[in-house]
Symmetry: C2
Subunit: 320 residues, 2 copies
């Protein structure tokens, strides 16, 4: 492949001169400009846009660190991010982390080395120390409640949101309520667990470890919840499941096992995804696409910190 | 942000000299090298990796053009691509095309301008002419049967695969068979439609336009198919639906409307995704993750053209 050095050699000028011609810099003699253009023509040289980025200090690339691509929650969030990227004429560099901190660090390093202009972290795997260290090199945007820190973020108030689901079940007469969460180590799950413990305290119910189902992300995890519940001597009468995907798995397994919903077991899902509509699942609507768009806008506007709370809505259908 | 120009100014040397120091080029005097290193130290300059890319002519970025991110088919394909990217220490640049040719062209242009080393097109929106034009600038890999062209691809033999589904239904006694496809304009759909027409010819059944459901991609499209079928005076007795997602929507709607499956309507899905297992859906297993990994390997190995056909398997469950 012909590069800028080859062109310089062919034209008998310096690399700097070639660069000046490419960037329409005024201080180049007509003779040299002509020689460079002739060399370019001969070699079919196509301007390497990385040279332009180097010159401008901008890449128009925004990094996105996301745990999994093959999951409806992140799929919808990514779609919002990608839609806004198209609107703003930027491209996305994707980092699938599988929740491995090392992968997130790779993304942060790309920010440090200016390969990307900003980084959106859809669900953080690494530590706060990393975020604080790498923020000096470029804009980092988080999809979690980070109001205690000077960093841009778009988030749902997960404590309130989870509390709303629990209160709704309580109003319907439930006291024995089980919950599923994505991963106990995440910020969002931490807030949800806090809401759950506070709720139990308020209604004078003990915290039962066997009512908390961790690492629930996909359909099969919902099946598994029902399998475990059906073996309990004192099963919960209601479930708050933080993913419609998982809730749908639970609901299908209830149908298989002849457990009537909501009579024997009430179920609330999260996210209001198409499957919840089809299965008539009561759920909490979270505007994921809009959150994705907001994250992208924050990433592009690196000059100021903004923190955006999004609203949620309880969607009553037939499973509570 | 400090850039290479600022460093040059601070050190009192040319930009070329700074570049030489950064690249460990031998022809730099010790005095100048020391001045540059001192300036870098003072300014906390971090080497712009784009300068390295410019120098090497490689970015370690692979582009991926994908119609939608928020869809299980592409989610699974993307996951395979992303897994292999991690293994091979590359990053992905994402182009969500929404099947708009213009977006695919943007990706092709990034290939031309060396912003990416190669481009994977998961489902082509643009013309063959574009592919042929842009192949000279870098590796393009397609997820479709392109054996007639000199280009790398990973694909399913969709003609044979679709024929297998139709033959299976025919063996079970069905003659009135409807089909759903993603979009009539795509290469894969074209092959499937050809298989359908040939099948009808062989069993002496007429081609009926109202038995062909186009643009079926999501759950709701499956609901829609059943709505349309239930209004027909002569409905099909079986359906081949080229997405488990759509098939699941159809199946749920059959349950809602009291249409018994497979007695009144047999259904075959495609892709063997988790939802098909849960809903006991007969389907065609397609190794999407493995296809994604293969596409990525082909993109990285730009030096030779390889064309890889993947196998499919009929998974018998309870809907036929």
């Amino acid at each position: 492949m012909t590069n800028i050095r080859d062109i310089a050699k062919m034209a008998g000028v310096s690399v700097t001169t070639v660069s000046r011609v490419l960037n329409h810099h005024p201080y180049v003699s007509e003779a040299k400009r002509a020689a460079v253009l002739e060399a370019i023509k001969k070699s079919h040289y196509h301007r390497n846009i990385n040279a332009v980025h180097l010159s401008k200090g901008k890449t128009n690339l925004i990094g996105v660190a996301v745990p999994f691509l093959n999951h409806p929650y992140f799929g919808q969030l990514m779609e919002g991010i990608a839609d806004e990227a198209i609107t703003q004429n930027h491209q996305l560099v994707l980092f699938q982390t599988n929740y491995e901190p090392q992968r997130e660090l790779e993304a942060l390093k790309m920010l440090k080395y200016k390969q990307i202009d900003a980084l959106i972290i859809c669900s953080r795997a690494g530590s706060w120390e990393w975020i604080e260290e790498y923020q000096q090199y470029g804009t980092i945007v988080l999809c979690e409640d980070a109001r205690k820190k000077p960093i841009s973020c778009t988030f749902i108030h997960h404590y309130q949101c989870f509390q709303a689901a629990l209160d709704f079940l309580h109003q319907k007469g439930h006291r024995k309520i089980g919950i599923s969460i994505g991963r106990t180590s995440g910020t969002n799950s931490h807030q949800r667990l806090r809401a759950y413990r506070d709720f139990l305290k308020n209604i004078n119910e003990p915290y039962r470890k066997d009512y908390v189902f961790d690492h629930c992300l996909v359909l099969e995890d919902g099946v598994d919840i029902i399998e475990r519940i059906s073996k309990m001597s004192e099963p919960p009468s209601a479930l708050v499941i933080t993913s419609d995907e998982v809730a749908a798995g639970a609901l299908l397994q209830c149908q298989q096992k002849g457990i009537s919903v909501p009579e024997q077991l009430a179920i609330i899902g999260f996210n209001n995804q198409p499957i919840s509509y089809l299965m008539n699942l009561t759920t909490i609507d979270i505007p994921l696409s809009e959150m994705g768009r907001s994250l992208f806008r924050q990433a592009c506007d690196g000059t100021r910190i903004s923190q955006k709370e999004m609203s949620y809505t309880l969607v009553e259908r037939s499973t509570v």
